[in-house]
Symmetry: D2
């Protein structure tokens, strides 16, 4: 680390408590927010490194690092971080008043890039590695993914061909049977041995690359739901000792946390059991998940804010998806799809529960269907077709149909970068002298089914998730938060 100093800011939190008699009590609580300014050398180990997400993140970071340009049918393209909250979003940090040439007072909003708020890892500085159950080198894996332009891949060939994933933990019982062909590069051993092997991998990666921090990110296949609810660490340790066939994601999670790496889960399965949280807590490490919120569900939580927030009750949502990448293939079997479905259908619950005029007690049900189909021809170009039907004034109907086409991995990759950047940052922040976590709930914005430190309290509203993250970052950076009332401006 280049610097061992800290940035300390004080922030006055503001919220309202409602007591039993419905009376509001306005609370203001002063906090000390301390951010270590020493940005560590950080490694990013992806599980599923050779998959579409893994190769896209890798190439995207290399393209940006080398400031590459390449030819496409549409003209010359060049590297960017579009779609990344940390790298491409700005937040309002305040207002400026001045005078125009005629002497009239004017005001304007001042925005600042998120990346400039606090010292964060630059994506280009991540050292990339990871595991895959398929042995293909990263150059050929990138070609196989069919996500990126040939003109870009060719420039990266030399770098990519040298990168080879470590052998992966594999258990066919947890993924779709159609993945069997792909599994040619796997670890063998008891559960305990597998954990040990992954720990060795992390250790080696850390040592070889002289890393101060490692982030382990699950971006591999969706696993089926794990039927057991491992409610405490003791139970988990017992299962490991007994050589119970744990889902691979749990094996990685345990290994990562034992190594004090940050563990992030980008797929929908229920990897983050209470026992894993307990382990993170014990180790002083961090975890977050689950399921990247990149496309249809992100749009859905924005639509929930929009419609329900306008007094319009959504009555049915039908969400169809099809895609032809390996994610779609894996999800084409019912037991893996079930995990995805569960992750996707509950995302409007907080919006519905918030409005008893539109959804009175006992009438909270909406027809909500999610379908994912495997359509090889479209490749990574995912198509989401949604229909939102709402009731409007005098029981008229409002129907909104949307058709969304996007390379699945191009939406996911920048979000993956965000999660890693912020997870590392949060590991350097303390609130009132206490470290954050162990669950990094402030990452809710990036997950379809956010896990929090309060199992009963989850925020899905996109607007509120974004407020939470932005305001927290601004507070840490010494900016206030805005209430937008504009009263002082005679608005």
């Amino acid at each position: 680390m280049k610097d061992t100093g800290s940035l300390i800011n004080h922030y006055c939190e503001r919220f309202t408590l409602i007591d039993e008699k419905e009376a509001p009590k306005l609370m203001t609580i002063e906090h000390e927010l301390k951010t270590s300014t020493a940005v560590p050398k950080c490694g990013l180990m992806m599980i599923g490194l050779g998959g579409n997400n893994g190769t896209t993140v890798t190439c995207g970071i290399l393209a940006n690092k080398n400031k590459l340009s390449w030819l496409t049918r549409r003209g010359e393209a060049s590297a960017n971080y579009f779609g990344s909250f940390s790298q491409s979003v700005t937040v309002k940090v305040g207002m400026r008043q001045s005078k125009d040439p005629s002497g009239k007072k004017t005001m304007e909003d001042i925005y600042k890039p998120v990346k400039d708020l606090l010292p964060m890892v630059k994506p280009e500085d991540f050292v990339i590695g990871g595991w895959d159950i398929n042995s293909m080198d990263m150059y050929n894996a990138t070609l196989r993914a069919k996500v990126l332009e040939p003109g870009l891949i060719q420039q990266l060939e030399k770098d990519l061909i040298k990168m080879k994933p470590l052998p992966g933990v594999y258990n066919l019982a947890y993924i779709a049977s159609n993945q069997e062909d792909r599994a040619n590069h796997i670890k063998e051993g008891t559960t305990s041995q597998l954990i040990q092997q992954v720990q060795e991998d992390i250790k080696n990666f850390r040592t070889t690359n002289k890393l101060e921090r490692v982030v382990v990110l699950w971006t591999a296949n969706t696993e089926r739901y794990y039927e057991k609810d491992i409610s405490n660490l003791e139970e988990l340790e017992k299962l490991i000792k007994e050589n119970a066939p744990l889902p691979p994601s749990v094996v990685y999670g345990v290994a990562a946390l034992r190594e004090k790496a940050i563990f992030l889960n980008g797929s929908p399965q229920n990897t983050i059991h209470p026992a894993l949280i307990e382990l993170a807590h014990k180790q002083g490490s961090y975890l977050a998940g689950s399921d990247f919120k990149s496309g249809q569900t992100k749009y859905k939580t924005a639509m929930g804010d929009y419609l329900i927030g306008s007094g319009i009750p959504i009555r049915s949502i039908v969400s169809y998806n099809h895609l032809g990448n390996n994610d779609g293939k894996n999800l084409s079997e019912p037991h893996t799809f079930r995990s995805k479905e569960l992750s996707k259908v509950s995302c409007l619950e907080d919006a519905i529960m918030s409005n008893k005029i539109l959804y009175p007690k006992g009438q909270e049900h909406i027809d909500h269907t999610v379908v994912i189909k495997y359509c090889p021809f479209v490749g990574d170009s995912k198509r989401a077709m949604d229909e939102y039907t709402s009731e409007i004034f005098l029981q008229g109907t409002n129907t909104i149909v949307s058709y969304n086409v996007c390379e699945d991995s191009l939406l996911a990759a920048p979000i993956m970068i965000d999660i890693c950047v912020f997870a590392e940052l949060f590991s350097r922040i303390s609130i009132d002298s206490k470290p954050m976590g162990p669950v990094l709930s402030y990452l809710s914005f990036f997950f379809k089914a956010p896990v929090t430190n309060h199992p009963e309290y989850v925020i899905n509203s996109l607007g509120r998730q974004k407020d939470m993250l932005s305001n927290f970052l601004k507070a840490c950076a010494g900016y206030g938060t805005e209430d937008n009332t504009m009263m002082a401006f005679d608005f």
Copy 2:
């Protein structure tokens, strides 16, 4: 008025000033917010009373007042206020902490209906009247509109048939030539005389109905842009004296403000010139506008928040609309459409200007096209088809196509009710002993092209407009505003 008391709350506004050196200065300013609790008997005079919006508002209020139900193809329907922010939206007013049966601390959000925050006019209590250039009674006008179900209209026949609009101010130079057939019920006279006649209408309406407050709402045809920029009241008075052919909306505006009525403009034309604002100020009255934001543009400003707020630069938006009601017919001529187009295309400007990573200086242009076509067969059932094309990671493309079907008037009517309810409320609120206005900028949420007291500062972002309105109402009601940082909750 039933009550002459006041509700007084103190609110501590919070914002940040950025000085020349980019340093933040955190501001907290205490305000006294005083709301007169005496809800007046209020009249609503609509210009274009017999049009689709006018008849829908009228029938909707009557249906709710009488708690009507009616049979439709889909089963029994009953009156509601869906789509109304004031009547159907809830806001988070705070959190409650308690313990679950096992003694574990839990927390939950507490929401409250907007209508219960402060004493407001109940929509059913509005006394309805207004003007139309067509003489048809309200029963037949409602049938002509083809918006509502026969089963509802039949129950209202007796009430509606007695309601007849006052003759309207008419000037064919400002609307489409295809409206000529409809204009059989118009006032004659010099500009000055027309204003006088409208003033008499307002006076009579007030006296006859024993009203304490009158709101005059333009919901008639879109007029063409008025070429002159009437920059002060003196100039306006001079034009009136010279019998200049002012646009009818200006005639109504002047008359309403002279009568200390609140003047609201729901159409896109530039009625609200500086001179009109000056008049409102002088009269101690209020005005707001322009152009109800009910459908495509509202969605667009939500999409702007969603995409640009996710670091995804929108590069083109093509917005097609067609509808078959009289609004569509009037807009089928280029000079009236031009007003609408201007109102619709600039709604993403603040979002674009806020992000210099996605839109560097000189590259703020996006391809943005708005088309409105008249298609009689679809009637009031407006169809909006949009295509949003954005650049994503590594210059991939994200395309979102939406198709939105909705009865135009069923979306507009609840918003019209909102504007009137809040405009009346705001006329009873003072901030630090100063009345609000004269422009009611806090109504920006409801307008495509909001007019504010700061011509250079307009907020189009749907999320921010909503925050502004909600937070202001909560502050007046004695609730704090939330910063959503959740720090106190070890989130």
Copy 3:
């Protein structure tokens, strides 16, 4: 019958035989087409009478018989037969040459309504009856269906309330378990007794109403596929004798054919086994099926003609549907959906097999997915969302997305009328002194999975199905068929 005469026309069929050596042999074969002109008094017995299709057909026929008009939100509506090939389509019967005022030769096409080509039953003359597993009278069943406007249903109340379905044959093993609640009106007995009871119902209906012809039409729930392939009549009789639990549709089929009624199958299950065809043949009766082709599949076979017929290879089709009527509910279970899926996915096979340039041997596969979801809120208003992805020149891609909204029953009802009208007509036609049938293959136009007298030869192309039906009708009516070469016209 009013008339015992016959209409005899001679038609010269024209086709080409290709021999082993690929040489064409032009064939012209003269046929005698004899149509009995005596239109019988005809009864229509629907299985599923109280369902959405059954009630819609019944009300539609009554509305047309009584030339009713009714008020809707959109204005006055009146009875029609739109969507019916027999009642609303015209066919080109020839050309007319004349001279224009200036003496110049002109030519024009002459079209004639299909219904005027040959003597057919008028839909209004059908005597309607049938069975249902639910006892609800037709008035309440029509309200339950939520298909038609209240203003129409109210006018038919008196007629409908008297109509009550006969108890139905019911076997939960063949439909979705969610239909159990509805089954309150069912026949009891051994398989043999059930057949007997249905035969009695038909006999009574015939006698009571003095009918000369009865058509029995299955428009009830989709059954699951029947696992046995009943390959001959002997086997079927044996199963009946052994009281094997036959699917209800087979029970009705056997009963209908034993009664010499025409049996038509509007649902996708494999009711029409070889044994049933043998029975029809033995009885001198007729049958046709299966699965009304009314919406998405009809469009798909038109799209196949359009795209493949333009040299554009479709590579993937994803067809999503959702609806909220009882058909959707029944299809929400996998075993009934399976029947529907099988019926829907093979409809492009003949188009694909016809073009070895686009689909070389071994490359006939296209990604083709069909999804049907139950969404109660949308009721009978079915929504079909399709995506067609095709390869074009130089391996570009053409993507066509369609969103189709239509009341399911309003599309099906006129087709049901067509099938009955033509089935009855075809029972009066002989080709070269031989009756048609037993399978009425010329009805292929109306079925998703047409059964023919040549199991190995099925036509799915919409264009060709229509040509076959139109040309056959024109030939019977004494019109020639057109080759559209226009050579004689110096075109």
Copy 4:
């Protein structure tokens, strides 16, 4: 020419004449169809060679000639002629009866590629040349077009860079003012001189390349409608003599026909006046047009066949398009768009006129709107959004919305190839010893607004256009035409 022989076939045309008394008269007329089998060496001169269509045709032909493959994001692609009727479509030429292993009679349809029916120019054998108002060489023009993949263009660089368009005829009065920048390579002179120069160009091209036949194809910008109706050749010659500023397309047409080249018009403007037809007739040459039917209109005429042919009256069609290529730019001005609009809106007229049940006399109107917008960001990737609203049974409504994305030039290029191939072929065919033409009406399938030899008689129905073309080709090739009645097969 390799061969001076002829293929002679006799065909018995079949149609029905309807006399004044509505009685049908079945006509069978024997024709001698003679096709010269000597396929000439043929040149294709495109006007607008350097535009998107011109470069795409050129590269496509070169790619096929050299059997090229290239890498794309989606994997390896290779040259094809998808979308070409002549190269990629098959037609049914007859049936084959045989026996299956069990001795049972079977039958199957026999299909043959269109290109194998008669001796036609192979696209790869066209010698390509032409004109452009911009001087850019074909390599850079192809890059500018942004239609094709870099991996393909790079392989063609050496060929393309040598190809340079001849200077074009230019008159800004006939195209959009925004084309002015592009016009840096133009001919100067009087109208007569311009014609002369183009004739010289054709002569040189013919001589240099030793061509036996030249086809001149207008694929340049849409011109505005020419206000004069040049009703005979004398008048046209007079205008030329007087140096009237004729539209450039007319200048090319006159020059081409004077040179006995075939003149084809792919844009919508009214180039093909009676005078031009007279000139073609006099010269013994041929012409055809207008406006390539490749996308939205082709789909529309298929939808007309589908819906109206199913007894469903279309009541409104709203067709929105946007694109960002130079065609879109040129059409963004009202006077050029007007030509396009006229070409596009009348395409359902014959379908509407054919059905007096759905469209009784005086009620033939449908709401039909066509919009084209210029949206630079989407480039050549045209997006068509259509809404078809139809009335169905009992005045229900069927709404079909489609969204169609396709590279505009990739759809047009194969059709351009077809038109040239067939035009050349038809110039070698005589019917009853008379040459075809002068207007090649059998090409109607390829044009939005087909010109025929019978101005009052135009066929727009896609199905019928295709029948006409296919049946004519089959007849010339010695195959019969099929009536699809299947009577001989006991179907």
